[in-house]
């Protein structure tokens, strides 16, 4: 089952019950705020969260909470953001593994790419109450690598094409997994708009 959530649409607070298997896609191309709690309540429940955020200006505020309440539950969260201008991405992700969640695996990854004068605030949190678990999280924030850009330019791409290719590459781990053509198109359109050189 796949569920799509837009950061700027619907209720600000969401509670999602994961019973067996769920893939959740969170998309944002403008300002917005969301707090999403995933509750893995049934033994063996499996959750995949993919987040993709493209922002020129404005602020995206996102909170995700992965609650492991049953045994053998697995959650895997990947959030990527690209900030083009003066946008701000404020993210807090928490993994809770309760005592009832033995033998659970939880992963959390947040990567951010800063292209303009944007700001990133990221707080990945782990709260673990069970011992027989595997849990990890990671977060990176970086900018466009000058060397990579240079390499692409030596192959005949101009600054903007190179930048686009770089951003597409950065997002590929998420975009490759989206099988909804409508969303893929939306993302492409947004990228095109944001990458347009300023006159």
């Amino acid at each position: 089952m796949t569920k799509t959530i837009y950061i700027d649409k619907g209720k600000k607070k969401l509670n999602i019950l994961v019973e067996d298997s769920l893939t959740c896609l969170i998309v944002g191309t403008g300002s917005g705020e969301k707090e999403i709690t995933f509750e893995l309540k049934k033994k063996g429940a499996n959750l995949k969260v993919l987040g993709l955020f493209l922002l020129g200006n404005g602020e995206i505020k996102l909170r995700t909470i992965q609650k492991h309440l049953a045994r053998n539950t697995v959650s895997d969260l990947k959030i990527k953001s690209v900030l083009f201008d003066q946008g701000k991405f404020d993210y807090l992700g928490r993994v809770n593994i309760f005592e009832s969640g033995q033998q659970s695996n939880a992963y959390q990854q947040n990567d951010n790419l800063l292209l303009g004068d944007g700001e990133v605030e990221t707080t990945p949190e782990l709260e673990i109450l069970a011992d027989d678990v595997k849990c990890s999280h990671g977060s990176t924030t970086s900018q466009l690598n000058e060397r990579d850009l240079f390499y692409l330019k030596t192959r005949g791409l101009d600054q903007n094409e190179a930048k686009k290719l770089f951003v597409q590459g950065f997002l590929a781990t998420i975009t490759d997994k989206i099988d909804n053509i409508k969303i893929t198109k939306e993302i492409e359109l947004c990228l095109k708009k944001l990458l347009k050189p300023k006159i």
Binding site: D131, V133, S139
Partner: protein
């Protein structure tokens, strides 16, 4: 494999000497008590005002709304000042025998005999013993207890005191500023490299007594110093509070390492503010090991103020029954090309709770700055808890910030492998744990590393039935 229950051993340094302090303040905190402290220390107006101002800030500030449970602290039930002897003494022979006896039990004389350059041992509120090797004095290094330093070098002192951590920083910094006593003051002149680590042992011995030491280290341009602070305290019946403030200046191209081994008894609230200001090309390091106390909240920080400054924090925490170790580190990038690194290792067992709490911040203009945080946690049983609360604030695009954390238990495969080589389960577990913390232990001076390995072994002893 079924989870095992580890037995928490009896506290290793569980003895308590009779209390023969010559002066102790009344319990509780008031303007009178603070001015009484000033009277006893014969302080001038400047310090009196500083203390009184801090007291006002303390009463205004609220307790931190986050972190560990501090509701067990009763500020009116604490002695804020106790003085064991009358003057800071110079030679080991002058130290009263009953104090020596206490030190004997934690092995200070051996440490003294070994490779130590100077020892400032804090017994109760004031440093009573300081020994400095002659060559250190010749080099112009000032190593005194903070009270004496204020009397002898008031100009130097006022220039730096309370500047990195002003009383208004937080409630406990304000408390320390109001009632501080003892601690170390170190000044290393330009270009002087102190090769051997300087150290001080801090102890609390009177029941219901807080210890509020204040340490100030100034490493002038191109100098080098390694300071070691080890804490072991006897067990009490009532809760105790330890709230220190440590300020360190790392000037241009200087290098400072501050090592702490905290092993307070399990009824002490250990709430410490530690901060380092690192100038251009300087290198500041915190090595922070937290084994004891009931609650520790301590986040040593490096403010990287000059281009090319480096900051590194190695943090280790062990939490057993009833313990909450809320430790971590902060690195603030304020200048271009600064680098930071935080490595945190934590172990929880028998219902203990360890938390990593940290901050990485890059200010606008800190171009080309890089920071990396690695947190690993080991959970030894299902009663224990491990948390990670890192925060990253990135205001400069031309920077690279990374964070990663893992939480796990001791792998069955690892255990099986070691046991197949003939180790018992207990030996195998100890070996894995020692391996887990080795990146931090190997940075400690030899005798501390040995002590650390002994302590870990002690915690594991008899844990498997």
């Amino acid at each position: 494999m079924a989870t095992k229950t580890f037995k928490k051993n009896k506290y290793q340094f569980g003895f308590n000497m009779p209390d023969t302090s010559t002066f102790r303040s009344k319990k509780g905190l008031s303007a009178e008590i603070v001015s009484e402290i000033s009277d006893l220390k014969k302080e001038d107006e400047w310090m009196r005002n500083f203390r009184q101002k801090s007291l006002k800030i303390f009463s205004k500030k609220k307790m931190p709304p986050w972190g560990a449970d501090l509701s067990g602290i009763n500020f009116s039930d604490i002695h804020y000042f106790i003085r064991p002897g009358d003057r800071a003494e110079r030679s080991w022979d002058d130290v009263p025998p009953y104090i020596k006896e206490t030190f004997d039990k934690i092995g200070i004389p051996q440490a003294e005999k070994k490779m130590l350059a100077g020892v400032g041992a804090q017994y109760d509120s004031e440093v009573i013993y300081h020994s400095l090797k002659k060559d250190l004095e010749k080099q112009g290094v000032i190593f005194l207890d903070t009270d004496t330093a204020y009397r002898q070098y008031p100009e130097l002192f006022k220039e730096y005191f309370g500047k990195i951590i002003p009383p208004g920083d937080n409630k406990f910094a304000a408390l320390n500023s109001a009632v501080w006593s003892g601690g170390s003051f170190i000044y290393v002149p330009k270009g002087v490299k102190v090769k051997k680590p300087l150290q001080a042992y801090f102890r609390i011995n009177a029941a219901n007594m807080g210890q509020f030491e204040r340490t100030l280290i100034i490493a002038d341009e191109g100098s080098e110093i390694h300071y070691v602070e080890g804490c072991t305290a006897p067990v009490y019946t009532t809760d105790s509070l330890h709230s220190a403030v440590v300020e360190i200046y790392v000037k241009k191209n200087a290098r400072v390492r501050y090592t702490t081994i905290q092993n307070w008894s399990s009824n002490v609230y250990n709430l410490v503010t530690k901060r380092m200001r690192v100038e251009e090309g300087g290198f500041g390091e915190w090595v922070d090991c937290n084994l004891g106390s009931k609650v520790t909240m301590k986040y040593p920080s490096c403010y990287l103020m000059g281009p090319g400054a480096k900051g590194e924090i190695l943090s280790m925490a062990y939490a057993g029954k009833g313990q909450n170790q809320d430790a971590g580190g902060k690195i603030i990038h304020c200048a271009p090309n600064t680098t930071g690194r935080i490595t945190s290792k934590s172990i929880s067992q028998s219902g203990g709770r360890t938390s990593y709490r940290g901050l990485i911040e890059t200010k606008k203009g800190a171009k080309g700055s890089r920071s990396k945080v690695v947190c690993d946690a080991l959970l030894l049983d299902d009663e224990s808890r491990s948390d990670t609360y890192p925060k990253m604030n990135i205001l400069e695009k031309d920077s690279r910030i990374e964070h990663e954390a893992t939480v796990s238990k001791i792998g069955d495969q690892q255990l099986f492998y070691l046991m197949s080589k003939g180790l018992t389960e207990e030996e195998a577990e100890t070996m894995i744990i020692n391996g887990f913390i080795s990146p931090i232990v190997k940075e400690l001076p030899l005798e501390y590393a040995l002590e650390m390995n002994r302590l870990i072994k002690l915690q594991m002893e008899g844990s498997i039935g």
